[in-house]
Symmetry: C2
């Protein structure tokens, strides 16, 4: 049986929510084969203080003692450079997540990507403290400017380029990128500047889906939406390339099934946490690129965040094994049910933990 040693795996974009949903999904980080999880701050209200981020991490750690949680603030006008300095010195956060207002779940408190200038003091403090800026890279929908779910990411790319020029030493991640235009832009930035600090995360589900996958199947509806076949090919090419600035961030985003099976107001998000590494492995297998999977799900993300083994709670490593792995129809219990990505389907790989 083929086995591939993946080392200390990392999922650099994880939604674990709070309350009952958190209790359900926090343990699935490890079940899915992930050692290090970078946690999104879009709770209601958003996570913007040291007290809350410490408290949130404590709750998560109690639910998943072997998982290493990296924490983040939600970029908004309540943040100050002083707060960033203090949070960084305490090691309370590893980065700050920027949501353009209104683009996805719990983003109402977000910012206007046309005008990042009011946050430049924050970005400077982040740069000095080696924190990561995590960008949800979409312009908000606008009828006046013809911005819609398909071009919202390409239309955001000029803002990414400008930020990378204005803060050449700030580590910036274009999160859950979904378009060939985004992949091309990240590569182009690195070609122009070998010291470029811009990276991109790619989800598991965006390595499978196109627009046809969510048309009529709300379970596959997420933001950014999955795009066209040429975009899918570009994402698979980038993920499997081994290039150091592309790495895994699942953007696994659980919602109760009631929030997905609706005729209006379906929540955006695909839940992949429980089988995260297995979903990715399937794609690398199909692409004939399994030799690069460790870079994508372990090495590249860990290196970009500058993590050392001291930062990792459990030294257990992950091994990918070729073995039938059925995705259940539902994850949950009598009162809370989440439908996982590719529910009911058979995957080719599973994960094992080695101490």
């Amino acid at each position: 049986m083929a086995e591939i040693e993946l080392g200390i795996t990392a999922d650099m974009h994880v939604h674990l929510r709070d309350g009952k949903m958190m209790e359900l999904v926090a343990p699935t980080v490890r079940e899915g084969g992930v050692s290090i999880a970078y946690i999104m701050p879009n709770l209601v209200p958003p996570v913007t203080t040291i007290d809350r981020v410490v408290e949130y991490k404590k709750l998560l750690q109690a639910l998943a003692p072997k998982t290493t949680f990296l924490m983040s603030f939600y970029l908004c006008k309540e943040l100050t450079p002083e707060l960033i300095n203090e949070a960084a010195k305490l090691g309370a956060i590893q980065g700050v997540k920027c949501y353009p207002a209104g683009v996805t779940t719990n983003s109402a408190a977000g910012v206007d990507p046309n005008d990042f200038s009011s946050f430049y003091g924050i970005f400077k403090a982040m740069e000095e403290n080696n924190l990561v800026l995590n960008l949800h890279g979409e312009r908000p929908p606008s009828k006046d400017e013809d911005i819609h779910v398909l071009n919202a990411e390409p239309k955001f790319l000029p803002a990414l380029i400008k930020l990378s020029q204005d803060f050449p030493n700030l580590k910036i991640i274009l999160e859950h990128c979904t378009t060939k235009a985004a992949i091309d832009t990240v590569r182009s930035l690195h070609k122009e500047n070998p010291n470029c600090k811009v990276a991109a995360t790619i989800t598991a589900h965006h390595l499978y889906l196109t627009i046809d996958s969510w048309a009529g199947n709300p379970i596959n509806f997420c933001k950014p939406v999955a795009k066209l076949p040429e975009d899918l090919r570009a994402l698979v090419d980038a993920a499997t390339s081994g290039e150091p600035y592309f790495f895994f961030g699942s953007d696994s985003a659980p919602h109760p099934i009631e929030s997905k099976a609706r005729h209006v107001g379906v929540c955006a998000g695909v839940f992949t946490q429980s089988h995260a590494i297995a979903y990715v492995a399937e794609i690398f297998h199909a692409a004939g690129k399994l030799e690069n999977i460790k870079k994508f799900v372990s090495d590249n993300g860990v290196a970009f965040y500058g993590l050392s083994s001291d930062d990792v709670i459990s030294k257990d490593t992950v091994v990918l094994v070729e073995r039938e792995n059925y995705v259940p129809e539902i994850i949950g219990n009598d009162t809370l049910k989440v439908v996982p990505f590719r529910a009911g389907e058979k995957l080719r790989y599973a994960v094992e933990w080695r101490s």
Copy 2:
């Protein structure tokens, strides 16, 4: 109060289903302000015989005695030129609907638009009998050919052009067109050939929706899907232009709410029948083109089908009146509920019938 005389209105693309759904929606044709309805044949099994089309029309007529029903066959290999000749001579059908296999609700028995040649005998018989060919103008989805919900209609247009060249005297309708490319193609065919027999229907909902409208709102999901803002603008421009080859076909397609509020396998279709003319009027009002609405919802379609007053069961006419008109949240009863387009919203116009 402003009133606009619309005469004998026509909706040239109507799904009335069968059984309980037919009983619910057949009366809504008149409620929506439509006198003449061209009925789609995609029942299960599809309508392909004279007996069935006569029986179907009889059922509809009993439910809606004042509505004029124009009937159609479902294009498939069971049809023969002899059958077409006979059906035409009996006046049993006014046209034949062509569904590419697999593109929408109940299209499994459809044809391959890459190869219409096996139907050329049928088309010739239709041309001789002055019947209309109603095209669902989408190529089926194909990973190999990168055909997806966004380009399925543009990719079909070469087949439309070829048919119009091979059968210059066959009346062809590109049904429920959704793209600027389709509008441009129809106009271009008429520019090249003033005797061109190609027309296009436009729905009410495609005069409102874009991709963002159905992303996360399955109630607005239909096939062909609503496209981009530039497509919407082209459709509104064509519908309100008064050009004789653009007219109204609602493609109103009722589904029980259970078939729309699902996390997978949402049925494609938007139900607009009950407020059909009012939805359209709102768009003409906003475009400042109310002077052309009669052409779109009455004159152009009636002229294209070559109907005379003898073909119309009731001589009652429709008047558009400016009056608050609330769309209900649900149309139906305890056992069958359909959510109408723009449920719960207020429309600016209503219809009245005049004897």
